[in-house]
């Protein structure tokens, strides 16, 4: 197995699948301003996915391109965390999913900028700028909803209760990571787990939200094992490429 290819898929698929999820909301946001913000984040993520999958295809060197990777794999070949494929739910679910993810990605890209793989470092640097803005946006909404009305508090507390179990998978590591950490290419995720936990709890505190008392962890997307939701997302996303194979659009 090509570890760098695998590593690029993991990062790229997180962007692709979350970007796809958010794009479902375009035209349906709770406020027009928020519709624009969500679409913007979706656009950034699709842009990141394009960069990462283009590079992955290059590294793989089997004649595939970014679109082949994005649209023509089967579910087991997608390596995103299960968190990002969860349905949009209500606005609280969307923002909580985004917050748990953005908080991870900011710390991750900060470190990935130092990668000895220059192309990966450059993608990380560009993505970090976007992620800082995404995290600011999602943190502010978590605080607003948590410390808003009674209804918004209980809704977003429920979002937290259901999504909390998926955050641990963000820190999944295996031999792919270990090999690339030794080469100075990948980030050792253990180095910022504490920082992640304390940042998340600061925001949740300000939002007057309490993490549920559960410490079981869930998710095996990095190994290609997904929730039931991914298949539906892929059926929609891959529709054109599957129905009309080998055409230019």
């Amino acid at each position: 197995m090509n570890s760098l290819f695998e590593y690029l898929l993991r990062i790229g698929d997180d962007s692709l699948i979350l970007g796809q999820r958010l794009s479902e909301l375009c035209g349906h946001g709770p406020i027009l301003e928020e519709d624009i913000a969500t679409t913007n984040i979706s656009l950034d993520l699709i842009g990141q996915a394009t960069n990462l999958l283009t590079y992955a295809a290059e590294v793989e060197n089997l004649g595939r391109d970014a679109d082949n990777l994005a649209f023509m794999r089967i579910d087991r070949e997608y390596k995103n965390v299960v968190l990002v494929e969860q349905p949009n739910g209500d606005f609280g679910d969307t923002m909580m999913r985004q917050f748990l993810f953005d908080a991870f990605r900011k710390l991750f890209f900060e470190r990935l900028q130092q990668s000895k793989d220059f192309q990966l470092a450059a993608i990380a640097e560009k993505s970090l700028k976007e992620t800082r803005y995404h995290l600011k946006h999602s943190s502010e909404w978590v605080i607003r909803l948590g410390d808003g009305t009674e209804e918004s508090h209980s809704r977003v507390q429920h979002s937290l209760n259901t999504l909390w179990r998926y955050r641990a998978e963000l820190f999944f590591m295996d031999e792919v990571d270990n090999e690339l950490i030794n080469k100075g290419i990948a980030v050792d995720l253990k180095t910022f787990r504490n920082e992640y936990d304390s940042f998340v709890s600061t925001i949740l505190n300000e939002a007057t939200l309490n993490p549920p008392a559960q410490n079981w962890e869930f998710g095996s997307g990095r190994k290609g094992k997904h929730s039931e939701h991914l298949g539906h997302l892929l059926a929609e996303m891959q529709y054109m490429q599957r129905t009309y194979p080998n055409m230019e659009w």
């Binding site: 375009c26 349906h28 909803l145 918004s152 055409m247």
Partner: protein, 315 residues
């Protein structure tokens, strides 16, 4: 002090308009001018926002990453246009949420083209090419509209509309040059969107009830029929260029006038769709209402939080 009569005010106003001086929000204006603008600008804003839906229908199924990104950016622009226009309505003293509620209740109208469905990917091409193309024809003269905030909003909007038109035409070009299946898809989209696009310019001049006054106030610069003719003249050669056929057996070039002659528009269909009986009127309004209703608790939370913050600051 001598009182200025209403007639004097109106004369002065018309003189300003005639000498191309922009009317600004705090200037005196006839009540009917204000009402006309509120109606027109809010309907324009609603059209931008409802117009996000037929194209939004294809974002999740866009055929490749580049098309997905371009379509997202395009639909996002339309939301931005909606925002500028709602701001322009507010300068006239109207309330944004009230105008939106009028849309939801069916009292306010929006461009009837968005009540047609988008069953295929080629519709993304047809909409960009024809619908944004027609919008440009309508909106370029509005950049010189007598009402300042509307004119300035249109300047920003028009810059983006030409990108929309180009991306649509490019989608159509690729399809028209593609496989037989793709070409058929493009032709089918043109067949469905051609006539509704011509209807976007509104009723014939002798049927158009607000046109004359709007021309006098320089809200409008060209008549519906003139703009429609201009659109046909520009678009027919584009269709030829990419090998698609305009679905109008009566279409022919008139050497003498230098214009294309075209067939009779089905005005019954137009009025049916305007009255709410088009294929997607119900779905479009439902989608907008749902967005507002499902977002209510979010808006309430945001204002409750802002109030708490403000209270903490002063405490």
């Amino acid at each position: 002090m001598k009182e200025i009569s209403l007639v004097d005010l109106e004369n002065r106003f018309q003189k300003k308009v005639d000498s191309e001086i922009r009317i600004e929000p705090n200037d005196w204006m006839p009540e009917e001018y204000r009402r006309t603008l509120i109606r027109q600008i809010s309907q324009h804003a609603h059209s931008e926002v409802v117009g996000m839906l037929p194209e939004g229908n294809w974002i999740t199924r866009a055929p490749n990453l580049r098309r997905k990104a371009v379509l997202l950016a395009k639909v996002q622009d339309e939301a931005g246009h909606g925002l500028y226009l709602y701001s322009a309505v507010e300068t006239l003293g109207a309330d944004r949420e009230q105008t939106i509620d009028d849309l939801h209740s069916g009292k306010a109208k929006y461009s009837s083209i968005f009540n047609y469905p988008t069953p295929t990917w080629a519709d993304m091409g047809a909409i960009g090419w024809l619908v944004d193309g027609a919008a440009i024809m309508n909106q370029v003269p509005l950049c010189r509209c007598s009402y300042g905030p509307y004119a300035r909003a249109m300047v920003r909007v028009c810059k983006e509309e030409s990108f929309h038109q180009r991306q649509g035409f490019e989608i159509m070009t690729v399809l028209a040059q593609g496989t037989p299946e793709q070409k058929a898809m493009a032709q089918d989209a043109l067949d469905r969107f051609w006539w509704p696009a011509l209807m976007m310019f509104g009723p014939n001049d002798d049927e158009s009830k607000h046109s004359k006054q709007s021309m006098k106030w320089k809200i409008k610069r060209f008549s519906n029929d003139d703009l429609r003719q201009q659109f046909v003249d520009v678009t027919v050669p584009q269709a030829k260029l990419i090998g698609l056929t305009i679905p109008d057996p009566d279409l022919k070039w008139n050497e003498k006038t230098g214009h294309y002659e075209f067939g009779e528009i089905n005005w019954d269909e137009f009025w049916q769709v305007v009255e709410g009986n088009g294929p997607c009127n119900f779905d479009r309004i439902k989608a907008r209402k749902d967005a507002k209703e499902k977002g209510m608790w979010v808006r309430k939370a945001a204002s409750a939080h802002a109030a708490k913050r403000a209270a903490r600051k002063t405490a």
